[in-house]
């Protein structure tokens, strides 16, 4: 363990952050006046906004669930969010992330009593510099709370990376494309209020021991995110 901390001191990240340091978090609630609930969440220059509509009647009727309410998430990247313009519209990647977001939020939203209804969550990435799905999930959690949807707790999502052999918190694009040593591994993790994991993805290679370490690292970081989320919600509450 002491060896670990020693090496982490020497490790240099491209933007000069410490290995367990998040980028500057910005969180705001109530940014889309038309929506029932909305929020913005940013890790440095990765900016996500989420707007929630509903519960409202599910259309078309054949997709209604008569037993419980449905959560429907839509993730989208604006075409100007990255330097190379991305083609607007749904893609393989955005469909995947929409589904992932839905699963990450499902354990906490209590919409069982809204039979036949749907809660719509629209997530848009205004500016991307890696960790967009994490920023999107964090924004969606705040927007859902703002919309007055009953929830067991908020969720916090953070990405952990393994650059060569070093674990780091909150990846940026430069780190995602790490080329030295073993290369990059990207692990976005989402926690619910009781400390359980509602979503984890792994893109790359990692040992069992190091994965456990990564989860603990993410848990630490998620506390900071939780504070930012609470602060943003309470600020908006005082204004109303």
């Amino acid at each position: 363990m002491t060896k670990e901390t020693h090496s982490s001191k020497e490790f240099k990240r491209p933007d000069g952050r410490k290995v367990n340091e998040l980028r500057k978090i910005t969180a705001k609630v109530g940014i889309v006046p038309n929506a029932d609930g909305s929020a913005m969440f940013a890790f440095g220059d990765t900016v996500a906004i989420a707007a929630v509509y509903g519960p409202k009647k599910m259309h078309p009727q054949h997709s209604q669930d008569p037993e419980r309410g449905t959560l429907r998430c839509t993730y989208n990247m604006m075409s100007f969010s990255v330097t190379e313009r991305i083609r607007p519209g749904p893609s393989r990647r955005s469909t995947e992330i929409s589904k992932i977001t839905e699963w990450a939020l499902k354990p906490v939203v209590m919409i069982d009593e809204f039979q036949g209804n749907v809660v719509d969550v629209h997530i848009n990435i205004l500016q991307a510099n890696a960790s967009t799905r994490c920023a999107g999930i964090n924004a969606a959690a705040m927007a859902l709370a703002h919309a007055g949807i009953p929830m067991k707790s908020l969720v916090q999502s953070v990405s952990i990376g393994k650059l060569d052999k070093q674990l780091v918190t909150d990846l940026i694009k430069k780190e995602e494309d790490w080329e030295e040593g073993e290369g990059p591994t990207d692990i976005p993790i989402t926690f619910t209020g009781d400390g359980k994991i509602s979503h984890i993805q792994l893109d790359g290679k990692i040992t069992k021991a190091q994965l456990k370490e990564a989860v603990e690292l993410a848990r630490e970081a998620s506390k900071q995110i939780h504070e930012a989320q609470k602060k943003a919600l309470k600020e908006v509450g005082e204004k109303q």
């Binding site: 109530g30 029932d36 609930g37 509903g54 519960p55 409202k56 009647k57 906490v108 209590m110 809204f114 039979q115 209804n117 709370a145 703002h146 919309a147 007055g148 949807i149 009953p150 929830m151 067991k152 707790s153 908020l154 209020g193 989320q229 609470k230 919600l233 309470k234 908006v236 509450g237 005082e238 204004k239 109303q240």
Partner: protein, 221 residues
Amino acid sequence: MTDRKIVVPGETVSKGGDFLPGEGTEKRGEEIFAIRFGLLEESNNLVKVIPLSGVYQPRRGNVVIGKVENITFNGWVIDINTAEGAFLSLMEVPRYVNKDDLEEVMMIGDMVVAKINSINKRGIDLTIKLKGLGRLDRGIIISINPNKVPRVIGKEGSMISLIKDETKCRITVGQNGLIWIDGDKVEDELFAKKAILHVAEKSLMSGLTEEMKEWFGGEKK
């Protein structure tokens, strides 16, 4: 006003068994957690969360204003700004209704003040069998955020009766955020509308009724 504390979902609102969990809260083990975003209220031995934002949640006994959306063989479907459409049965109309001519009582597009009679799995049932309920055939209707309705009404109706007196209008506030204003002159109605929108905008202030008295003093000049 009691101490106001804002809570977010998942926040602990009470430890130990001193309180009973009310609306917007949930008991897990010994602790009580908030499950909604809003103001925490502790009264007697009950804790509950009063929502600050979000869509209108219908409750039994609420007076609401809605629009006739459809006519069925035994009643009217009424849109009251909820996910579920509300149903007004012809049994709940305090007059004789010819079953072949429901349009004579209410047509599609008519506005109606109704009370929520019951909420069940099949939907919301309305009634207009009480005084002050029924079809609206004059006046204007404005819409505000449903979470601000309690402020517009005020403590024991203090705010709404002030506005009624000052503007000489008849006003019905629907819990779903729709407000019906009926005055003798259009100017009066527009004045009442201005006053209500002012209340909704300033809803965070404490001592709002006093502030509105001053506001009326200023506007009358």
